[in-house]
């Protein structure tokens, strides 16, 4: 019976851990996307113009 409780707990734990790992993967993917978007914003030769626009708008 004890074994039973352990197996049951493991079954649930595995699913929760998998959900946690997925969330971690999402964070990684978002991180990459943020870097990518920053790169697109900053490497643009039009950045300065855009910056001025943003500042003016604020």
């Amino acid at each position: 019976y004890l074994e039973d409780v352990k197996i049951k707990a493991r079954g649930q734990l595995q699913a929760v851990e998998s959900r946690y790992r997925a969330q971690k993967r999402i964070t990684q993917a978002f991180e990459l996307e943020i870097l990518n978007l920053f790169g697109r914003l900053e490497n643009s030769p039009l950045k300065k113009l855009e910056d001025e626009k943003t500042e003016a708008a604020e």
Binding site: I7, Q12, A15, V16, R19, A22, R25, I26, A29, E33
Partner: protein, 293 residues
């Protein structure tokens, strides 16, 4: 020859009419009543019998570890699976990998890629061969499973099973096929060798995609019963039975290209009989599984 066709007729007949099926269904129901499902017994059952369609998805989910053995945890765990699916689904929206018009199977692919850390940098990257395998299996599974979340988990875990547990054996299957073809019909083997077709048979379709896109779903699920419960050798016998069934047609074709092209698009009428015969042939050569997983 007469014996053979009679035997095949019988097994197809029984499976269709379900004489044997009633007993089998009862014994499966007894197994499924346990508070804690016995995975090994469920494996043995699906190795020996076709799963009744009303229990197929449940058994697959248990065998693939999507839900745990305890009945009482099923709802809870399925809830976690659901949340996980929507978490990733939403994230893919945010980074614009999917939108409302993305086909379901492609959504599944992107979720699977993200989960396994293989999401490409952007959408412009071409698909890898393993992605094509995933999509083919997903398309077939979509026809078998109504609920998209259940469907995603089945595809993803099935593909993971193929890439881990079955990885090494899958690579051996072309060689194994040649051996059994030599036993069953050496003349056909000679013909394939003479046309230089042996190395060009649609092995990816047969052994990587597990016949997804080759057999209609009603036949395919009976093959997958065996693979999911632990035997990928059944794939060899399905391929073998396809070759034997269309022997005349294949002998009449004289180039590897034509043979491959035909085999990639086999007629869809008698596939149930092909699978039944393949299962019989598998039993003949590998014996009835007793307790092996």
């Amino acid at each position: 020859m007469a014996d053979d066709s009679q035997r095949n007729f019988r097994s197809v007949y029984y499976e269709k009419v379900g004489f044997r099926g009633v007993e089998e269904k009862k014994s499966l129901e007894i197994l499924l009543k346990d508070d804690r499902l016995d995975i090994e017994k469920l494996c043995t059952f699906s190795q020996r019998f076709p799963l009744p369609s009303m229990y197929r998805i449940l058994v697959w989910k248990v065998l693939l570890g999507i839900i745990p053995p305890h009945h009482k945890s099923h709802a809870l765990v399925m809830n976690y699976r659901k949340e996980q699916y929507w978490d990733i689904h939403h994230a893919l929206h945010v980074i614009r990998f999917i939108d409302d018009s993305t086909p379901q199977v492609e959504v599944f692919l992107r979720i699977h890629q993200l989960e396994s850390g293989k999401l490409p940098r952007n959408l412009a990257y071409p698909l890898e061969p393993e992605d094509e395998v995933f999509l083919a299996i997903a398309k077939a599974m979509e026809e078998m499973v109504e609920d998209p979340i259940e469907c995603y988990w089945l595809v993803s875990c099935f593909v993971n099973q193929l890439n881990s547990k079955h990885r090494d054996s899958l690579q051996q299957l072309p060689k194994v096929l040649e051996q059994y073809l030599n036993i069953e019909d050496s003349r056909l083997l000679m013909h394939l060798k003479a046309c230089a077709a042996l190395s060009k048979l649609p092995y990816d379709l047969w052994f990587k995609k597990c016949f997804a896109g080759c057999l209609p779903e009603s036949s395919l699920q009976r093959v997958w019963d065996k693979v999911i419960s632990g035997s990928c050798k059944i794939l060899v016998f399905v391929a073998l039975e396809i070759l034997l069934t269309f022997k005349m047609k294949i002998i009449a074709l004289t180039t590897a290209e034509k043979i491959t092209q035909f085999l990639e698009n086999i007629p869809q009428e008698n596939t149930d009989a092909i699978v039944s015969k393949a299962v019989d042939l598998w039993r003949t050569h590998c014996g009835t599984p007793a307790h092996s997983a």
